[in-house]
């Protein structure tokens, strides 16, 4: 394991001892620092803290916040709440998948530039359908509008 990663994990460990952090908080910190939940990191931490790795995976696979695979540079989140759904969110997802050449359950493009995800509701129902690219919120979208909106992120 790289020394840098070890240092990051050690500091998460020290913090967890000091604050009495639970597994969810440790995983949240890990993901914030490393981008996703890396197998190597989980096993290192499990040894360090003397907690079975299965406990980390039990939690990591339960909550939708945790990612077990690397994610793209730009995160496109399509809201799939009720209102977005009845106003055509699914058509936006289909179009974006086609545009980004994502097949079946693939979420991240081969060049690691985009990850396409959905979220249950962002609570901005008044401007449905809603798509969030990184931190920017796009309201009242259509499939074609969204194709245009992700263009600037392609470079």
């Amino acid at each position: 394991m790289e020394k840098q990663m070890e240092e990051v994990l050690e500091s998460i460990y020290q913090k967890s001892v000091a604050h009495g952090d639970n597994i969810i908080t440790v995983l949240q910190n890990m993901q914030n620092e490393l981008g996703y939940i890396q197998e190597e990191a989980v096993y290192w931490y499990s040894k360090r803290a003397n907690i079975p790795a299965s406990q980390f995976y039990g939690v990591a696979t339960f909550y939708s916040q945790f990612h077990l695979n690397p994610r793209g540079k730009n995160i496109i989140t399509v809201c799939s709440g009720t209102v977005c759904h009845v106003k055509g969110a699914q058509r936006i997802v289909s179009k974006l998948k086609e545009e980004l050449k994502l097949k079946d359950k693939e979420q991240t493009t081969k060049d690691m530039n985009f990850t396409l995800e959905n979220v249950n509701c962002v609570g901005a129902c008044s401007i449905a359908p809603v798509v969030i690219v990184n931190e920017k919120v796009f309201g009242k979208q259509s499939p074609d509008k969204m194709v245009k909106n992700i263009k600037p992120y392609k470079e």
Partner: protein, 593 residues
């Protein structure tokens, strides 16, 4: 010239998404530019970040108040700011064509605001503004002058019921918890709002976080707790930020921490970020999640009020419930009990969304009819389509058809027609929404969110979804409706927690009121609302097609052919019925039947 000028910009998530940040920035720039000519304007100017005021469909909303005269502008964009400042602030002439119309006032007049009273009026990041609207007065009164028993009695007498879904009387719950002998008791605020189509809790925390904190202090004093948690969705970054800001400010002023209000009462609040699991809205699952475990519910009893977080007596109430507490203490139980219906007291915050003119956050006295909500406050159906149903209670609720439009909205009313209050989401559906597809949508959600602990929910929701999917794809079989009904009842009756028990509601209610739509899908292989693409045929109306080629480019499987400026044609053998051509056509030439 020494005028008092205040400008309020709506900066809830809706406001920000509509460009609130840019409007804010432009306002600051324009004021600076104008300030060169008249520096006194700048001195008196306060630019406020206000939380959600509910009328999200008109964002960005901007209030300009000059010497007490307020003008409210709607749909304000960055480029309009210059004229706004020049004409109105500098020139003193409001721009009438940008002002909100009468419907904005109707929208507000029909409502009764307790929880939302100060939203959109005070700066959520300033504790002084909250203090300015009698903030923390109720907490002070409770801690310094009342006994815990008196507090619990007041809440009991007010008739306040849990606003998170179940509607259990809050005061009774508090009394159960306080009755347990224990060295520690916990109080938890459930802000893990996970219903698709619900955003009331987020808006309350974004717009008035101190009210929730104050409610928790009062609850903590009543049950004898020294530590509370707010369990909040990590997907709500703005709400989380504002909550932290508010907690820090409250600690600095001594409203949280040790020896509150000069008494021996100690209480502090920690924030726990939810990691994204709908089932964590269930009390015992939420507790497991705070403890760092997989958020799976367990059998009740023991109830959390007896054995909750870390095995100690615990109270869990939702954001809106806590926000109701300070006003009840300030104005009295009788005042609160005088609002609402016989069994449901007070008001309910509702996220009114869907195919409706005025989407937004509203607060109504319990017992107002669906008709008043949808037509008077909501302004009726968008685009003059026909009303079909209103879905309440999110994935746990049901669809209510036209025949119950005069139904009063309170816990019992909604339950009597097979739906529920839930956390207060209300999604209006019009004639173009297919009810089978809606049931399928909610089952997709609950099936994904089922934690997998108990068999009826884990496998039952999966099977329900499979049957609904085949019906919407034209593979429906005779007997599917009866099978759905039977299975739905089994899942409802035998699941461990509220998620499984209520998951079949969308199926049961849509079959009950819209059985003919199911029958059309199964027997005639038709979708009456023209929503289920697999059951439709797409073709091009030659006389309306201008031959622009948009549909050709949109078609992923090259099923459309045609020369430029000549009518195009869809090859039905190649068509995969994705609907791209329908979306792409700007001339209404693509028809689906």
């Amino acid at each position: 010239m020494n005028r008092e000028i205040t400008v309020n910009v709506c900066m809830g998530t809706g406001g920000i998404a509509a460009g609130g940040e840019q409007v804010m920035k432009a306002l600051k720039q324009e004021f600076e530019a104008a300030g060169i000519k008249n520096a006194k304007i700048m001195e008196n100017c306060k630019l406020h970040k206000v939380g959600c005021r509910g009328f999200c469909a008109r964002d960005v909303l901007v209030d300009v108040t000059i010497d007490g005269e307020t003008s409210t502008y709607q749909y304000i964009e960055e480029k309009m700011v210059k004229r706004l400042v020049q004409d109105h602030v500098v020139g003193g002439k409001p721009i009438t064509e940008w002002l909100v119309g009468d419907d904005y006032h109707t929208f507000h007049e029909k409502q009764t605001k307790i929880v939302l009273h100060d939203l959109g009026k005070i700066d959520p990041e300033s504790i002084d503004e909250y203090l300015g609207v009698d903030g923390y007065k109720a907490a002070q009164k409770v801690v310094a002058e009342m006994t815990p028993e008196e507090v619990i009695k007041t809440i009991k007498d007010s008739g306040l019921r849990g606003r998170g879904g179940g509607g259990f009387p809050a005061g009774v719950k508090w009394a159960f918890c306080a009755a347990n002998e224990s060295d520690q008791r916990y109080i938890i605020c459930n802000a893990d709002e996970g219903d698709p189509g619900a955003f009331m809790d987020r808006s309350v925390i974004e717009g008035n976080p101190h009210a929730v904190i104050e409610g928790m202090i009062i609850g903590a004093y009543a049950i004898g707790s020294s530590l509370g948690y707010v369990y909040i969705r990590a997907e709500y970054p703005l709400a989380v930020d504002r909550l932290h800001t508010a907690l820090n400010a409250a600690r600095e002023r001594g409203y949280l921490g040790e020896k509150l209000f000069g008494t021996d009462f100690n209480f502090d609040i920690k924030v726990k970020l939810g990691a994204g699991a709908f089932v964590c809205g269930e009390e015992t699952a939420l507790i497991a999640s705070i403890e760092g475990e997989r958020g799976m519910p367990r059998a009740k009893p023991p109830f959390p009020a007896n054995k909750g977080l870390w095995g100690k007596p615990t109270i869990i109430n939702n954001v809106e419930t806590f926000a109701n507490v300070p006003p009840i203490i300030n104005k009295g139980a009788d005042w609160f009990a005088s609002i609402g219906s016989e069994k449901s007291k007070g008001t309910k915050v509702i996220a009114l969304t869907g195919k409706i003119r005025n989407t937004g956050l509203i607060e109504i006295p319990m017992g107002m009819t669906l008709k008043e909500i949808i037509y008077d406050i909501g302004g009726g159906i968008e685009g003059d389509k026909l009303f079909k149903a209103v879905q309440t209670g999110g994935p746990s609720g049901g669809c209510i058809p036209q025949q119950y439009i005069d139904l009063p909205v309170h816990y019992e009313g909604l339950q009597s027609v097979g739906s529920m209050m839930g956390s207060g989401g209300m999604v209006v559906l019009d004639e173009t929404d297919c009810m089978v597809a809606i049931a399928k949508f909610f089952l997709t959600f609950t099936q994904e969110e089922s934690c997998g602990k108990c068999v009826p929910c884990r496998i039952g929701t999966k099977r329900l979804l499979e049957i609904l999917t085949r019906i919407t794809e034209g593979e429906g079989r005779k007997g599917d409706i009866e099978l759905l009904q039977q299975l739905a009842e089994d899942v409802r009756d035998s699941s461990l927690c509220g998620l499984g028990m209520s998951a079949p509601n969308p199926v049961i209610s849509t079959i009950k009121y819209f059985r003919h739509e199911y029958e059309a899908h199964i027997n005639q292989k038709k979708c009456p609302s023209k929503t289920c693409n697999k059951l439709l045929t797409f073709f091009i109306r030659e006389h309306q097609c201008v031959g622009c080629g948009m549909c050709i480019r949109a078609c992923a499987v090259n099923a459309i052919t045609g020369e430029k400026k000549q009518p195009h044609h869809i090859d039905q053998d190649k068509c995969i019925k994705c609907g791209s051509c329908f979306d792409a056509c700007k001339f209404n030439a693509v028809l689906k039947e």
